[in-house]
């Protein structure tokens, strides 16, 4: 498809959906069925999260003895206090680490992937397709296969158990290169690059001043996907890190979860910790919603 469809995507995304397709009156029956499907689906998607929210507010005794989907004695603040009190508030440290790994990591990953994708889209050079295909091949490799070699690699330079061991590998986003290539091809017209060249702007400057602005929705999308991917990843930190103060929140919760059989009281901390660990993601998504909506559109285009 062409640049016009992609830019239409960003325009239409801002229009309320019901106005699309002309808003013809459909029969009340179709409307009712459609809404019923929506409501059932909403229940399916939100009930587990609701359960987690409710469970976080319960005392240990109430957790097993009261109705799981409704509040009992409201102990949320006690649970929070217990969570923050445990081991010198190590949980807050984990949250901060995750924010750092995922936030800064996704930022750089996006930039790096965008540059590569843009270059592959806008410059022709020998081996271009091969390079692109090798990069795409990266998504085929199982995480378990990379873990040990990566560990040995970082051991060679004595960098295991440092933030770099987790941070650097997460800067690579093959999917990001894919997305930004497609999007750059569709939404950055050659004429504009040419015009910038005639104005005397350098190639790199053209990218940063002109292209990035046109690719903004795709960049936000890449950022979000990478943010989620890093936030969710616990396998690499599990292998690389020994120092508790460097853990991201998912690894910390995993470690606590393996200690439940030894110290059963930790379970309550795991539950409230889980809730706290998904809130930043939901906030990030809501905050950037406007952008990723249209960025996603490019993923399905040729």
């Amino acid at each position: 498809m062409t640049a016009t469809t992609a830019s239409r995507a960003s325009r239409t995304a801002r229009r309320p959906a019901p106005a699309r397709n002309g808003g013809i009156r459909e029969s009340a029956v179709s409307r009712t069925i459609a809404m019923a499907v929506m409501v059932v689906a909403t229940l399916y998607f939100l009930t587990p999260i609701w359960w987690l929210l409710v469970a976080s507010t319960k005392t240990r005794a109430d957790f097993t003895t009261t109705a799981p989907l409704w509040f009992a004695d409201f102990a949320l603040f006690d649970n929070l206090a217990a969570l923050f009190d445990y081991r010198n508030a190590v949980f807050l440290r984990w949250l901060a680490n995750s924010a750092l790994y995922a936030g800064v990591g996704a930022l750089f990953a996006t930039l790096i992937a965008a540059m590569a994708g843009y270059a592959i889209a806008k410059y022709s050079f020998r081996g271009r397709e091969t390079l692109f295909n090798v990069i795409l091949g990266g998504v085929l490799v199982p995480a378990t296969a990379l873990a040990l070699p990566l560990f040995l690699l970082f051991s060679q330079i004595g960098a295991t158990n440092t933030i770099w061991a987790v941070f650097l590998p997460s800067l690579v986003s093959p999917f990001g290169v894919y997305l930004s290539r497609i999007y750059a091809a569709a939404s950055v017209p050659d004429e504009i690059i040419e015009a910038a060249r005639i104005d005397g702007a350098g190639e790199v400057r053209t990218f940063f001043t002109v292209a990035t602005r046109m690719m903004a929705p795709a960049l936000v999308t890449i950022f979000l996907f990478q943010f989620v991917a890093i936030w969710n990843n616990f396998f690499l930190p599990l292998i690389m890190l020994r120092d508790e103060s460097l853990f991201p929140v998912t690894l910390g919760l995993y470690v606590w979860n393996t200690q439940v059989s030894q110290i059963p009281d930790i379970r309550a901390l795991v539950i409230i910790g889980s809730l706290l660990s998904i809130i930043p993601l939901i906030i990030t998504f809501l905050g950037l919603q406007r952008f990723w909506q249209s960025g996603l559109a490019s993923g399905g285009l040729k």
């Binding site: 090798v134 199982p142 070699p149 990218f207 996603l296």
Partner: protein, 298 residues
């Protein structure tokens, strides 16, 4: 085209410099953190261990394809691949079907408040797999579930059912994500196409079937391939489910098999398994791609 001003580097040179600036950061990181580790895994897979006596130290020697022969004779490994293939054949179409239906409904004038629904369906994507699996583990539990009426009648964690219970967790997390990709593709369809159809008197169902679905096929193929890759690499959900039910064995999925082989520790065999799994993933996603391309080729 090229009109180089005198005194400035030629366009070709500038292009090359720019290319380097754009590609070197990603290229270097990709080489370091993908290519070299993969190469090392391949190298590991060609080694085998020798030792003498009960507590003799291990010596790694070149073993050729010994480990690959062991992989092909390893019934448990192939069982685990068969299991995730079965999983994929059932779960991926259901997930994508649901995602497609929800996306079409969101895109139709039948639904009000689509903004809210969009977010509600997408919310599970923000839940890390590990935590999603823990939550569903509780929801499946015969005694603690909010739906004990159901969970006491059906044992979701039994050996027969647990694969599908995990499928539900994966579906729960990813339907919204896939729905958004399809929905975004729907938004990109030009309005004029609908207007023409509507003048012909086509209803919403008709429009969906004959205009919308064919146009989002590329999006479906993309999400389908990523789903297949994800299925073959299933790890976190079954790993967490091991604490809820012993029906999830240590060789339940290929990645679990690799993990438990690596912790023997038998690193070379695990590396050979990884290589075979990556190749199987490649062959499968490539086949699906070719099949769907042929079908949709005009």
């Amino acid at each position: 085209m090229a009109r180089d001003t005198a005194g400035r580097p030629s366009r070709a040179v500038r292009h090359r410099a720019a290319l380097a600036v754009f590609l070197v950061p990603f290229g270097a990181l990709f080489t370091l953190f993908y290519v070299i580790p993969i190469g090392y895994a391949v190298y590991q897979s060609l080694l085998t261990v020798e030792r003498e006596g009960t507590f003799g130290p291990a010596v790694q020697v070149f073993g050729g394809l010994t480990q690959y022969i062991a992989v092909f004779q390893n019934e448990l490994f192939w069982n685990s691949i068969g299991r995730v293939l079965l999983f994929g054949v059932v779960q991926v179409p259901i997930m994508l079907g649901l995602a497609l239906i929800l996306a079409l409904l969101l895109d139709s004038p039948l639904v009000r408040g689509s903004r809210f629904f969009r977010l509600a369906f997408f919310a599970p994507y923000a839940v890390p797999s590990v935590i999603a699996a823990i939550m569903w583990g509780f929801l499946y539990s015969p005694n603690l579930s909010p739906f004990t009426g159901v969970t006491q009648a059906v044992d979701f964690l039994s050996a027969d059912a647990v694969l599908w219970s995990i499928a539900n967790v994966v579906t729960w997390v990813y339907v919204g994500y896939n729905m958004l990709i399809i929905y975004s593709a729907l938004l990109a369809i030009p309005q004029e196409l609908y207007e023409a159809a509507r003048l012909d008197g086509a209803g919403q169902l008709r429009i969906a079937l004959s205009i919308k679905i064919p146009l989002v096929v590329p999006a479906l193929v993309l999400t389908g391939i990523f789903s297949i890759i994800g299925t073959l690499q299933l790890l976190a959900e079954p790993q967490v489910f091991q604490s809820f039910t012993s029906a999830v064995t240590s060789t339940f999925t290929p990645n679990l098999t690799i993990y438990s082989t690596a912790s023997v520790p038998n690193i070379s065999l695990a590396a050979a398994m990884s290589v075979v799994l990556a190749l199987a993933t490649f062959v499968l996603s490539f086949t699906v791609l070719k099949l769907t391309q042929r079908r949709t080729a005009r």
